[in-house]
């Protein structure tokens, strides 16, 4: 079948099947490079072979355009270039391809300037993290600071690499060529020969402060000129807590590090404000809410006595140790408390274990109307929405 006519001519219902391949080529190809025309010619020659077929031709205008582009502008995208990204290039307003190298190499979507293809951990860096945590028994916190990798990522890497080793041991097939290809396509953070280099070029920012819900509204809060209004005060204003007493504020100002460690080591003792359902914790300053608060104390020491880096480092190490022991102690206590509440019974007559948890049924827990959520049991008088629209029926979590 002869090719369809394109452009304006095709809008006429009578015209599409007029057999004039020469007009098609001349009309649509005048401004296209030679590769395209040669392809089209081959297409048309192929089409002559099926001149008796009544099926519509598969080569529409758009398909032609697409293959033309794939053969010219898009041809460089077909194969990846090892060690380099190979994305679509953003276009300038004139429609030409932008020459900005940064945009070219790191933006996978040409229109979206806000998404960057960020590097992933290289194989070596991953193994380094694993050996440090598993074999050298370094804490996740210190590995994170040393290598500039988020703590959660360190944990995940340890899990994944352990799993990989186990699978290798069991002789399961791995997707090695695929992994190699992906690492060639995506930017990676290398393992620097000099490990201290990682502090200068961290993989990601490790001290991210999550933006808290309470800080959303803008609050007009007049303060006297003479008053030192700091981050602790701002947090109290945001959570509508009364301002600190002068004496207490002055005490805090003398030893900021201790204040922060008090918060981070006893998160359950943070002051609460509000009543009943509205009770909430007072918003703590950023110093306490970032993942690595001890780094601030280190910087403070470094700024106050920059001549003694050795002492600073020692103090820093000690601070980390303290933090870790406190954390371990806290975890241990929490576990103990949980176990105390639990009685395990393993009857001979059953293959199951029964875990009895102590609960309290009283006016305090059930509330005046008997529907308080702290008391045990599904509540009476609260309807079941099981068959209602939008109820989640699939599992919401999978226990490890």
């Amino acid at each position: 079948m002869p090719p369809r006519l394109q452009g304006q001519l095709a809008t006429n219902p009578l015209l599409p099947y007029i057999s004039s391949s020469s007009t098609t080529t001349s009309s649509s190809l005048s401004n296209l490079p030679t590769q395209y025309s040669s392809q089209l010619i081959s297409c048309s020659s192929r089409r002559t072979n099926r001149s008796f077929s009544s099926a519509p031709s598969s080569q529409t205008k758009h398909r032609n355009e697409m293959f033309a582009w794939l053969n010219t502008g898009g041809s460089r995208l077909k194969d990846h270039k090892p060690g380099r990204t190979n994305y679509l290039w953003p276009k300038t307003e004139a429609g030409l391809e932008s020459m900005n190298r940064d945009l070219k190499s790191s933006h996978p979507f040409p229109l979206n300037k806000d998404y960057i293809s960020q590097p992933i951990l290289s194989e070596e860096l991953r193994n380094e993290i694993h050996t440090r945590v598993v074999f050298k028994k370094q804490s996740i916190r210190s590995v994170s600071v040393d290598l500039g990798v988020d703590m959660r990522r360190v944990g995940a890497v340890v899990r994944l690499v352990t799993m990989e080793k186990r699978m290798k041991q069991q002789g399961k097939s791995l997707a090695l060529p695929y992994a190699r290809a992906v690492h060639e396509m995506v930017p990676t953070t290398p393992l620097y020969y000099d490990v201290s280099e990682h502090r200068q070029h961290p993989h990601e920012s490790i001290n991210d402060l999550p933006v808290h819900r309470l800080t959303d509204p803008q609050i007009f809060y007049p303060v006297s000129e003479s008053r030192q209004f700091n981050r602790v005060d701002a947090g109290r204003v945001f959570s509508a807590a009364p301002a600190l007493e002068r004496r207490e504020a002055a005490e805090n100002a003398t030893n900021p590090a201790e204040v922060i460690s008090r918060i981070t080591q006893n998160p359950s003792r943070i002051e609460r404000v509000g009543k009943g359902e509205n009770e909430q914790e007072v918003l703590q300053p950023a110093d306490a809410r970032i993942p690595h608060p001890h780094l601030i104390q280190y910087e403070r020491l470094a700024q106050s006595r920059s001549t003694e880096p050795k002492k600073n480092r020692e103090a820093y190490k000690q601070a980390i140790m303290q933090e870790e022991t406190a954390e371990k102690e806290r975890k241990r206590l929490a576990k103990e408390r949980q176990e105390q509440q639990l009685t395990k019974v393993q009857p001979d007559s059953s293959r199951f274990e029964f875990r009895f948890k102590d609960v309290v049924v009283s006016k305090e827990t059930t509330g005046p109307d008997g529907r308080g959520h702290k008391a045990p049991g599904r509540r009476y008088g609260v309807p079941s929405y099981e068959r209602k629209k939008g109820q989640v029926k699939i599992p919401t979590q999978v226990q490890v």
Binding site: T60, H62, E65, M66, W69, G73, G74, K78, D79, H80, T85, N86, Y87, L88, P108, F109, L111, N112, K113, D114, Y115, S117, I120, R126, R152, R153, G155, A156, L160, M163, M167, S173, L174, L176, P177, Y178, A181, V182, H183, M185, V186, S205, N207, D208, P210, V211, R213, E225, Q228, P256, A286, I290, E299, Q303, G390, I394, P395, T396, Q397, V400
Partner: protein, 446 residues
């Protein structure tokens, strides 16, 4: 579920897919016009464009329930800045008209580009984002077909919302199929034939096996003898041949046809096998392939060290080492090749120096590694040896909220995606104009 996620060329929609159609659509996509259109029209267009990409497999009402106007964001803090100032400097003197010298040059946070962040929690989308599937639809199929585990348990719901810390894993074979180049006609036929043979064999196999094994053993023995004789004649000839073949394989010219390349690969495989089978334990060749491979590699390594040693220190010492190595590896299956290397190393006068240069050993080693990791296997559903599918590189990026280990095809969902100054973590092909309009649509103030 009917698949409506086509990528038409007229009325193009950009999808979560790696197909070349999608690439073409992505390439020619422009921001929708705003000048002559009402605000409602702008929002409608933006919403429909964005929803064609973000979770088109999710019903609109379901997504409308998932939507949240509260967008997660973080601010990276510098410990040095926090240490220098407790915040009072920022507020000091503001009342008396003092201008603060706060640095306002920090880039803005693109909040509205995070409109579809709740969808990134879905299991199927996360699988697509970690590059385990070539489209979100395919990822969905993997989940439904039971190829995905979450925290070690099979999870059949593509709509499962991952929690921070969840580890999900896809079967490596499926991933290789999804991301690998497809088989061509000839390969498909080969696969069919192989399958048919495999199906026919089992019954007579039991009876034939012993005989076949004997025959095989005899043949191998014969070939062993022959090859030993050959080897005696010239060990370095075999080495040379191997090297040449390895070179042709590792030669990265794209012009060579796939079929020809495969032929070469096969030839190399055979050659290596021949060399290996000269060892004593040739009867258990199949079981021992792994160990033989490792032996080969160690032999190669030893060879290279020797080379370095011989370059720096005396020849005698290196030959001593040599003989030691030879004695230790006497009983090992890769002996023949070791022998060849050893002989070649002992008489560097006989062998061309070019033949034994480090790069060439590297090439040989890489070829061997590739032969092991990426073998020709007709039974696989993808083209073997595996190579990435076309246009995969243009879509290759991994967002930061996932930590992916590609060799075991597992990933951990670290946290929910967040926006930060100048950067949003949700991969979306649309500009901020579209994102903002879509966000405004779902705020339901229309």
């Amino acid at each position: 579920m009917r698949n409506r996620a086509t990528t038409p060329l007229s009325k193009p929609k950009v999808r979560q897919s790696w197909s070349k159609y999608n690439l073409f659509n992505l390439q020619r996509m422009r921001n929708p016009p705003t000048a002559t259109r009402t605000f409602f029209q702008q929002k409608w267009t933006a919403k429909s464009m964005a929803r064609a990409y973000h979770g088109e497999q999710v019903r609109e009402s379901q997504w409308a329930r998932m939507f949240s106007r509260r967008i997660r964001s973080v601010v990276p803090m510098q410990a040095a800045n926090l240490a220098a100032d407790d915040g009072s400097n920022m507020s000091a003197g503001r009342g008396s008209g003092l201008d603060s010298d706060i640095n306002l040059s920090a880039p803005l946070t693109p909040f509205t580009q995070m409109t579809f962040a709740p969808l990134e929690r879905r299991l199927d989308v996360a699988i697509f984002r970690s590059m385990f599937a070539s489209s979100a639809r395919q990822a969905r199929q993997f989940v439904v077909h039971g190829a995905v585990t979450v925290n070690g348990k099979k999870m059949r719901y593509p709509g499962y919302l991952l929690n921070p810390g969840d580890l999900f894993q896809v079967e490596p074979d499926r991933v290789m199929y999804a991301t690998g180049a497809p088989k061509d006609k000839k390969e498909r036929r080969e696969g069919r034939v192989a399958r048919k043979q495999a199906a026919e064999q089992p019954e007579p196999e039991a009876a034939k096996e012993e005989g076949a094994a004997e025959e095989g053993a005899e043949k191998e023995a014969e070939s062993e003898e022959q090859s030993k004789e050959e080897e005696k004649i010239n060990p370095r000839e075999t080495l040379k041949k191997l090297l040449e073949q390895a070179k042709t394989i590792m030669d990265d010219s794209k012009d060579v046809l796939a079929a020809k390349r495969k032929q070469e690969l096969r030839g190399f495989q055979k050659a290596v096998k021949r060399v290996l089978s000269r060892g004593d334990s040739s009867t258990v060749l199949k079981d021992n392939l792994e160990s033989q491979f490792s032996d080969l590699i160690t032999a190669l390594k030893a060879k290279r060290q020797e080379k370095k040693g011989s370059k720096k220190v005396k020849r005698s010492r290196s030959s001593e080492e040599d003989s030691a190595a030879a004695t230790t590896s006497d009983a090992q299956p890769g002996e023949a090749l070791t022998e060849a290397f050893r002989q070649a190393a002992e008489n560097p006068d006989d062998v061309d120096t070019s033949e034994l240069s480090n790069e060439e050993f590297d090439v040989l080693k890489r070829a061997l590694v590739q032969m092991r990791d990426n073998p020709i296997d007709n039974t696989k559903p993808y083209a073997t040896p595996w190579r990435p599918r076309d246009y995969m590189g243009a879509f290759a990026h991994i967002p930061r909220y996932l930590e992916v280990n590609h060799s075991i095809c597992a990933a951990v969902y670290l946290r929910h995606p967040v926006a930060r100054p100048g950067y949003s973590e949700v991969p979306t092909p649309f500009s901020q104009a579209v994102g903002t309009a879509a966000f405004a649509w779902y705020l339901r103030r229309r």
